[in-house]
């Protein structure tokens, strides 16, 4: 029995070394694996356009509320993919919310608990108004001369960020208890690296389409692909 175990470990180590040698960019430093998530949505995009009645030199004359953004091959953008229950080194991932062109940039992001930097690149008044339950909600004015503010999101939850001056502005910050998460790009794809090996359920959250989960097994040094289709 012991011999068999030793053999397995040895093989695994060799395989790992070989893998590292071949694909140094992907193998986790802690021997973790990678998850490549592809999130899709078969439905039509939901983008509400509206006319802007103020600050048009900064905000433009028309703006869009992007409720469901669908890219090529049904790829769903702005979905937060996280590995539920994953534990690992607490590599902090900070978030920066930029108010630019009367939009929150990025529209959706994720972070580990801690400080969040809030920038105002617009040279006009915005107010950061958050909707949260675990964290104290914030409603602070950020006039044009206040370029940067720092706030704290210390407890895991998904926080909605709005601006009352420009009611179309909408952003989301997912505060995660671990650093194993990603937000899908315009193609609906995201990569989560250095995930400790194990069986997990991958959780996808989208502001309009809600939540879905899918089981995945992460093996050291390997890439696990997971495809998730969101439904209304």
């Amino acid at each position: 029995m012991r011999r068999a175990l030793t053999a397995v470990v040895a093989v695994a180590l060799v395989a790992g070394v070989v893998f590292v040698a071949h694909r140094p960019d992907q193998a986790g430093a802690q021997g973790g694996g990678t998850i490549e998530a592809a999130v899709t949505f078969a439905g039509a995009p939901v983008i509400e356009k509206l006319k802007v009645n103020k600050d048009t030199e900064k905000c433009g004359t028309e703006t869009a509320i992007e409720k469901v953004v669908v890219g090529p091959n049904k790829g769903l953008a702005y979905a937060v993919v996280s590995v539920a229950g994953a534990k690992g080194a607490a590599t902090a991932k900070k978030a920066t919310i930029d108010q630019h062109g009367c939009k929150f940039v990025p529209h959706v992001q994720a972070m580990t608990p801690g400080e969040v930097e809030i920038k105002n690149s617009d040279d006009i008044l915005h107010n950061i108004h958050t909707y949260s339950t675990a964290n104290a909600s914030i409603n602070k004015a950020q006039p044009k001369f206040k370029k940067v503010m720092t706030e704290k999101f210390e407890k895991p939850e998904i926080i909605k960020v709005t601006c009352d001056v420009h009611s179309w502005m909408l952003g989301w910050v997912a505060v995660m208890p671990h650093p194993f998460f990603g937000v899908t790009d315009a193609n609906g794809a995201t990569r989560i690296e250095n995930v400790p090996p194990g069986k997990y359920s991958v959780e996808v959250w989208h502001e309009t389409l809600g939540k879905q989960t899918k089981e995945v097994e992460v093996k050291a040094g390997q890439t696990a692909k997971v495809a998730i289709e969101m439904k209304k």
């Binding site: 103020k54 008044l125 950061i128 909600s137 409603n139 602070k140 004015a141 009352d164 001056v165």
Partner: protein, 490 residues
């Protein structure tokens, strides 16, 4: 053992239990409310609006704007704290004084003990959400009002863009106004900073500075303490806001019409009108006939009036955040205002029914409508309005930064019996009606007043400059005569 002992024993038990549990006495004994006793008060006095479950969904809630507070969220607009949790004193003050400009009355009718008890009960709705200890907000050092401070406040008002919601002149007509929602998703209007007496949390300098510093929770109004250039700007802003309007509307009871010998300007912005003292008349929602208007948009009209030998001229000023004309497809209607008089002025207390008259007694309406101008009508009730042919009145209106100023000119003497003739020194009944078409007001959805009185002051003749000196000279002469006679005798 009498009745006293029977009461004393449970009290002693309660005290012992409290001691045993290590219950610390609260700040002041009188402030520790009894939630159980408060429940009875709540159900009788508060549940009608705030709901039995404290969720702000009482039977009356649908009719109210702003909506009654949902106590289950533990979110309170008016607080003197830097964090979310208000102090008990904050809540006690609102219960005691009410909230101006809302349906929340002052509950001074309850005893102080009852108010503390109901407060204790209200807090139970939020449960854990009010568990955190309140942390007092620390205001910067007070800067007394001065010309320089008000100037700096105005600069800051512009720099931090208060006008986005509150409007350039502070009348709550900013471009973001229509988009504003509270935490519950209900539309919410920005405060009209020129009407300080409607401020929900009070109009004193400290109260205004506190709202600016820590915001109004559950509403779009953000905290500015960390978002002004220098901390003392909070006070400069406060001083500027205090300079935007009077502390009280000083409502008038009688509208005096000034006698003028020359021409009366029909430009609403003419210096002439600025020199006359405004007579402020409060308006209420029309809630007698359907469809009713429980939440009127226009609550005050400032009336100035003058007359000469030809005409009587009314100058009306009122705030309306949205200038609107008739567009029924968008549920928008023309802004309008009307003066109402009896068709004939008679001595005695008899007047037509104040709400546009009735079947037996008509009223005369002098009405201005955005886009249509001035018209004259005779009404026998809100549903029976007939235009009077041969209109003799004309009007001139301007709209600036959420305020209408309107001049209506009409001949002093009427040609027929459907419209009144104005005579000096006679008390003339007058009433007002107003419509904010942008808020969907039209027809009987309007603001109204009951009858007021208007009086044309007696024309000022030159005799007042002639008679007194003549009397003085005659008196002097008589005295001299008396003196001379007396001297002659001596």
């Amino acid at each position: 053992m009498g009745r006293g002992a029977l009461i004393a024993r449970p009290l002693a038990v309660v005290a012992a239990v409290a001691l045993a549990l290590g219950a610390a006495p609260s700040r002041a004994a009188a402030q520790a409310g009894d939630a159980t006793a408060g429940k009875a008060v709540y159900e009788r006095r508060c549940a009608g609006c705030h709901g039995e479950k404290g969720d702000g969904k009482g039977p009356a809630a649908d009719l109210l704007v702003p909506k009654p507070r949902d106590f289950t969220m533990g979110l309170y607009k008016i607080r003197t704290t830097a964090n979310k949790v208000p102090t008990d004193q904050d809540l006690f003050r609102i219960i005691t004084d009410g909230m101006p400009g809302t349906s929340m009355p002052a509950w001074a009718v309850l005893t102080e003990r009852e108010r503390w008890n109901v407060l204790a009960y209200i807090k139970t709705f939020a449960g854990e959400k009010l568990k955190e200890a309140p942390k007092k907000v620390e205001l910067p050092k007070d800067v007394p009002s001065s010309e320089a401070s008000i100037k700096r406040g105005k600069e800051m008002f512009e720099a931090i863009e208060c006008h986005k919601c509150h409007g350039t002149d502070g009348r709550g007509d900013g471009p973001s106004r229509a988009e504003l929602k509270d935490e519950w998703g209900n539309p919410i209007a920005p405060a009209n900073l020129t009407k300080r007496w409607t401020f929900r949390g009070g109009a004193s300098r400290t109260e205004v500075a506190t709202r600016l510093a820590n915001g109004v929770l559950g509403t779009p109004m953000p905290a500015f303490l960390d978002s002004v250039e220098k901390p003392e700007d909070i006070w400069h802003l406060t001083n500027f806001i205090q300079s935007l309007g009077p502390d009280s509307p000083h409502y008038a009871t009688l509208v005096t019409v000034t006698a003028v010998t020359g021409a009366i300007p029909d430009d609403p912005n003419a210096e002439f009108w600025k020199k006359l003292t405004p007579n402020n008349i409060p308006l209420m929602g029309q809630v007698i006939v359907d469809p009713r208007n429980f939440n009127p948009a226009i609550d005050l009209v400032a009336v100035r009036a003058a007359y000469n030998d030809q005409a009587i001229v009314f100058h009306l000023t009122w705030d309306d955040p949205t200038q609107s004309a008739d567009e029924p497809a968008k549920k928008l209607f023309a802004d309008a205002i009307a003066l109402q008089f009896p068709p004939q002025i008679t001595a005695g207390p008899e007047r037509p029914y104040f709400l546009m008259g009735d079947g037996s007694d008509a009223v005369y309406l002098l009405r201005w409508e955005n886009g249509k101008g001035v018209s004259e009508a005779s009404a026998n009730g809100p549903g029976k309005i007939a235009a009077i042919a041969g209109g003799e009145a004309r009007g001139n209106a301007v709209f600036t930064n959420g305020q209408y100023r309107l001049v209506i000119t009409r001949p002093l003497v009427s040609k027929d019996a459907t419209r009144p003739t104005f005579t000096p020194a006679v008390f003339v009944p007058v009433a007002f009606q107003a419509w904010d078409g942008g808020a969907g007001e039209t027809g009987t959805r309007m603001s109204v007043t009951s009858w007021y009185y208007l009086r044309l002051e007696e024309p000022q003749s030159n005799r007042r400059f002639v008679i007194p000196p003549v009397v003085a000279i005659l008196t002097l002469a008589a005295m001299l005569v008396v003196v001379r006679i007396a001297k002659g005798r001596a």
